[in-house]
Symmetry: C2
Subunit: 200 residues, 2 copies
DNA sequence: GTCTATATCCCGATAGAC
DNA sequence: GTCTATCGGGATATAGAC
């Protein structure tokens, strides 16, 4: 007989975000619904609407949580490596690792994220990561092209990893992350080729 | 008063794929349902099940159509450029362009594609593209690393483009595609850095 | 802030007639 | 091969009581 506990703990808002994360990590975004999260917590399906205007607002909160999680994992790497090129490679490595260790959360950011313009708190949570990234790039190249190339490459490795291109073994994450780090260094090395030729 | 035309034209299967493509292009995969496609075509919601076992099978057919479309757009590029490095760059450019001009179809391949192992026809449609890509890489490097780097980079530029990182102007597609082509050439140039050092 | 109850809507899929 | 009709399920969101 299931314990049909009332909800006493006083922070349903945070508990809902936790549960949404769980659901998404277990079976992907498609498995998430406000109703299902409510059932898991043993509250009425209407209870969440006292804390979130609608489903999208809860998903946006999950996205904020995700960016904060990545930021926390990235921070020690930034402390460890001070050289710009090494930092960029470390960021790319951490990005791919995060994608591999939090697959569904990472995917959610690109599959199901509600319109960012309507949820500025998501953009705000992304900001510090972007700042660390851009400042490392800026120390190496004044133009945007290197930033775009590195960002694209890291993201691409992450997607390939999730797509199974690196196999399903335990070291797939590691190999993908190292590949992204090396590709980043290769792009830095040939960064002059990235700049649009003058007068073309 | 809506014309409540019966369906006479005899190829409901193909018409369903067309309509699914339309729906996805208009409002994303979330807007697609077998029921909605049926309504658009003026047939009963049960009619599609005479041609597709279930919803996923129809989506798989859309994926096949998408790969064929990309293949058709890629072919003239491959005829035009014969040098391996130039070919790789041309493939990357075409890939990003395709993503930009068929946004929702492209996204669908990664957001909503049903399990590939259960739909071998999708993998088969992807095969020729993969072959052209791998043969160009192989002429430049015997190892897998360059292939992964170029693939990741092209895919990453495509995702950045769809994410709005290149702006919303008319030339965003062009700039993203050129960026991907140049990054590809940069990776080719520094390809030695991609290889895992021996004995590490 | 949470509950019960409900309105409203949509979907996938099947059965059986034509 | 298509239609009518329907089953069974699940979702979002609101109203009003406590």
């Amino acid at each position: 007989m299931a314990e049909r506990r009332r909800y006493h703990h006083g922070d349903l808002r945070a508990a809902l975000i936790d549960t949404a994360v769980e659901l998404i990590e277990e079976h992907g975004v498609r498995a998430f619904s406000v109703a299902e999260a409510s059932r898991r917590l043993g509250v009425a399906v209407s209870a969440p609407y006292a804390h979130f205007a609608d489903r999208d607002e809860l998903l946006a909160a999950v996205a904020v949580r995700t960016y904060e999680l990545f930021r926390a994992e990235l921070a020690p790497e930034l402390d460890r490596v001070r050289q710009p090129a090494g930092r960029l490679a470390a960021i790319a490595r951490a990005y791919v690792r995060f994608a591999g260790t939090h697959r569904a959360l990472f995917s959610m950011l690109f599959e199901a994220l509600p319109d960012k313009t309507r949820h500025p708190e998501v953009a705000a949570a992304e900001q510090p990561i972007d700042d660390a990234f851009r400042s490392s790039v800026h120390a190496l190249s004044g133009s945007d092209e290197l930033a775009q190339a590195v960002e694209a490459t890291a993201h691409g490795y992450a997607m390939l990893l999730l797509d199974g291109a690196f196999g399903e073994h335990g070291d797939a994450i590691q190999r993908a992350a190292e590949g992204a780090a090396r590709a980043t260094l290769a792009l830095v090395e040939s960064r002059d080729l990235l700049i649009r030729p003058i007068g073309r």
